[in-house]
Each structure stands twice: as C-alpha cells, then as structure tokens.
Symmetry: C2
Subunit: 145 residues, 2 copies
DNA sequence: ATTCGTGCAAATGCTTTGCACCCAC
DNA sequence: GTGGGTGCAAAGCATTTGCACGAAT
C-alpha cells in the first residue's frame, strides 16, 4: 500500500548516484512500517535489535536522505530535537494534539484551517508551502490522574 | 504600557526569594523593549554592548526565569533552538507566518482557528492549554528575487 | 554571615562530520 | 580499483550546570 515510497526511495538513490545498502534498507523498512512519530534514537534502538553493528551516524545520515527525498517529515513539537513521520501522500495533511503530561501525540484533520490559511496568505502576499498546527493540552487519560 | 510586566517580574522575584540585579534588570529591560522574536544569542549580543562583562550563562538563566514567570514565551519554529517573545496579555494570541527564504516572521491573528480548536479538543477529550500555528512559505519580497 | 547572582569552563544532549576502512560492482 | 557506505570518535551547536568568587542585605 505504501509501495510508492519504495519507488521514490529507489529513484532518489539512482538519480543521485547513491547506492542502496543493507543498513539503509533496514532503516527504510523500519520507518515505512512504523506509524506515528519517532526520534532518531528510537530508529537506532529498533534497528540495533536486527543489526547489532549499525551505528548512530548511519541512522542520522539515512534520516537526512529520507527527509531530502520527501519520504520523512521532520517536526520539533516545540522541543529542541527532531521527530520524524512518514510523508504519506495517500493520507491528507494532518495536525497534532500533544499531551504535555505524557507526551502522547494524536493526529487530526481540520479542513477549515486549510481554507483560513489561504485567506491569511493572500492578506500578507505569502506563497504558502506548508503549515504546522500544534495544540497543547492534557489528554483524557492524564486528566484522570 | 507594559508596566504590568515589571510588576510581574518584581513579584516573581520576591515570591521565590530571588533578588533583582543589574544584569537581570538589563536583560528584562532589553526583552520588554524589543518587539518580535529574538534568540538567546541576540539578547546576549545586545546586552553585551551595554555591559561588556555579562556572561552567556546569565542570559540563559534569566531567560529561564522570565519564561517561568510568564513574561517570555518560547518557540522553536521548527528549528532546534529557542526563539523568545514577550507574552503580552494586552495583545491577543497570534500565530506566525515564516518565510523559509529569508527567515522573516510575521504575526497574524485568526479567530476561526480559535473556534476550531475547541471543536477538535472536544472530539478527542483534550483539555487545551495553548496552540501554535506556523505557516511556512515565501514572503512577497523573496518572491521577487 | 548568609544567601543569592555571576563568569568561567566543563558538561550535556542531539546532531553532523572527518577519516580510515570496507564492500559492491 | 573506484565510488560510495560505514563505524568510530571528534567536533558542532545550543543550552545547562558545578564551582568558586562577589555583591547585597
């Protein structure tokens, strides 16, 4: 279902005279199989279980490659470190609800924001590329604690 | 006009058994006089002109103090470093248009987002504290280049 | 005297990079 | 055998912290 990602990955490799490798493929497989958001270290810890020889530098280099070819999106969620998610063109753009108590991240869609965005862009003569809406609060579970 | 900030600063100092000092006051003065967004290093460079003995650690410690007492808001704008702005209770919440070419940050207000936010919160049983909407694009000037 | 503020330098956390080596074609 | 991939360690960058000293009460 997400096979177009593999294609994009392979074409990017070819176009830039790079090579695929066992470790790159391992990281590609992990991220494209994983839903939601993950950090570089989480990718590292998971791939380490399968290939104990992998290094954190390879993880960071491959993340950069996947961001550059549009397979991964990078976010910060207000923190000073990167969170990554698959840029799935089959699912529409979504935004994030972030629980400041437990760190849980929930995705949601909001069409009205899409329209507003255009209105604001025209007002300031901006040519919009993307947006991020993050709503911070306390999730239902943490409200009970 | 922003004298309530000075009051809040002084009360916070007193309540937490801290002291005001020449250097803290200098940083407080700089940030409350400055419009828009600034980094820790920008505060440091500016205060350095007035007090060449000031250290970067004092700047960071004072920023933390001002964030804790609600005078400064911290943002990341997708980067892995902090940007600060005065939390002016007299002006309503605003969001940001960010030019990815020149880095310019423009503030705007959007009431519809305020309403949508509540709808989304109810849907996910979230108790909302705040939100950040960042729209990325190319500003009118950079479109001409 | 005590308490807090400060500069300096070291430490931190996350990320990138230089380099020598390894592998695949 | 050449070009790219990789681990390792070092460097980078923003930020925080330990410590000894300094200032104010």
């Amino acid at each position: 279902m997400r096979s177009y990602l593999k294609l994009r990955y392979q074409q990017f490799i070819k176009k830039n005279n790079l090579k695929s490798s066992k470790r790159r493929d391992l990281i590609f497989d992990f991220v494209t199989r994983t839903k939601g958001h993950f950090t570089a270290d989480e990718i590292y810890q998971e791939t380490l279980k399968i290939d104990p020889g992998i290094g954190i530098a390879t993880v960071y280099r491959t993340i950069r490659l996947l961001v550059n070819c549009g397979i991964l999106l990078e976010q910060t969620f207000g923190e000073k470190k990167g969170y990554f998610e698959v840029n799935d063109i089959n699912s529409k753009h979504h935004d994030h609800l972030i629980c400041t108590a437990c760190g849980k991240i929930i995705e949601f869609r909001c069409d009205i924001i899409e329209d507003d965005k255009q209105r604001i862009a025209e007002l300031h003569q901006f040519k919009i590329n993307s947006h991020k809406l993050e709503i911070y609060g306390i999730c239902s579970e943490c409200q009970l604690k």
